[in-house]
Amino acid sequence: MAVTTDPQSAAESPPAVEVRGLVKRYGAVEALRGIDLTVQRGELFALLGPNGAGKTTLFSILATLRTPTAGTARVFGHDVVSDRNAVRRTMGIVFQEPAIERRLSGRDNLLLMGLFYGLPMATARRRATELLESLGLAEAGARPAEKLSGGQRRKLELARALVTDPAILFLDEATLGLDVDARRVFWSHVRSLADAGRTVFFTTHYMEEAEVAGRIALIDTGSIVALDSPRALKARLGGGVVRLQTADDAEARRWLGQHGFVCEGQGKEIMLIHADPAAIVPELLRNLPVRVERVEVHAPSLEDVFLGLTGRGLAGNEPIAVEHSGPPGMGMR
């Protein structure tokens, strides 16, 4: 009998990551408040949010290092609690903090990881050689890891995560502490991995890093506030952004409010979102009752999107409004 539709095929290819109603509480603190998330196979997916938003908690649960309080998370169909070892076999992970043995050579680190995953020695050797070469570490890999530069060490972490040829690569703030050049090199490697079809899930609080992703989930205080492609997220704001610095921002905000403009966030600058930002600048300059010291018009960045959604910057350190009733769109009650 010819099989036309295989009912099993759908079950056999579940999404790379599937998170449903995930909650994590630490005592009274709710670090994750019901996360729903699906990452398809082959996606380059970013989880973007400020420090303390819940990124690392979500990451740790997916990495089988913490258990959720409620809800489920599956990686390639395997439950992260009841089927830990199956999940672990699918993943290569780069942590925020170093996870290599500094005194051993890069190559030995890779071979040991191969051993932990049960790779045949010959395979591990071949993978280690290939990886070190493709990451430009062919020579450095022979030296003790502690002798490498920060950027080389991060690339070695990437190689460690890739030794087992995992179906999904997990990166948690993988470029923390690297300079701009080293970060660029690191991400060009990640992008080429994604281009080759590997699923990549990463967390970051740098918006320019998230730009490389196909889709981005914006996370804030334990909830996903938006999930879309970078382009679609920015298009949500519609048009562009005007940033103003004035002699008296409070007065300017009041005036803008009275004249039908919506000021986003409560940062040091006034931020307006408008369909045609360049067209309103002359009007603003003419009519604002306070002196304008600086005007900037630009296409919206992810930072603007985040600010628009949460009333806060990604840096996460900006003071939150004291008198403000809440982020726009949430102060309706």
């Binding site: 830990r84 993943m91 942590f95 500094r102």
Partner: protein, 260 residues
Amino acid sequence: MIRGIYAIVVLDLKRAWLDRARLAAGLAQPLLYLFVLGAGIGGSSRLGGGEYRRYIFPGVLGLSLLFSATFAAIVIVFDRQIGFLKAVLVAPIPRAAIAFGKITSGAIQAFAQGVVILPFAPLAGVPLSPLSLLTLLGAMLLSSFVFSAMGVAVAARFTSTTVFPVISNALLLPMFFLSGALYPLQNAPHWMQVATRFDPVAYGVDLMRGAVLGRYFFQPGLSVAVLVLLVAALGWVSVRVFMRGEDDSSLGATQFRWRR
């Protein structure tokens, strides 16, 4: 499971090999006991220097095994601090394999340290026939596993390496002194003879001494049984400690629990 244990042992031994100078440095303390303390105390005891040296040789072996096994266990605490452990924790190997691997690698390192001392046996006046050497090696191996399991069960709970000297003074020295390593238990006060029965080191040292001198304080069968039971019990405790870490990625270290 076996693969996980093997991987941990390879990792630990590879690292220990970087510190192979420690094997030589580790000789200093036992030799000091043997030839300085031994000569000093032996000279003024009824036994005489030579006889006393012969007597404490197995005790010094025990001391060496005990301290090097404990030191090997301390590496767990270092691991936690440098992060390599995290990469191991997300590898598809059971937590129990990590515990057993740590115990095995510690035992191998302790055993190696003991073996390095054996060539000094003739100098200490200890005659070793092939049979007594074989018995001695067996006793050393068993003791190494007990001491290593003790170290892992304790070290896996700590996150700070500064506690090591405290533990060594509070636990290791009393165990060493009560073990009869440095003096015959037969002449010790009654309370010590009772206390020594609760000292794991005493059974190990007694087996080793029996192997070389042919005189046992405990029944050798009893010693073997006690040591085997101890390995099993301490192994179980270690596994429990490592399993507890399954849910909070801390490997059971209490100070690493999330607090806010």
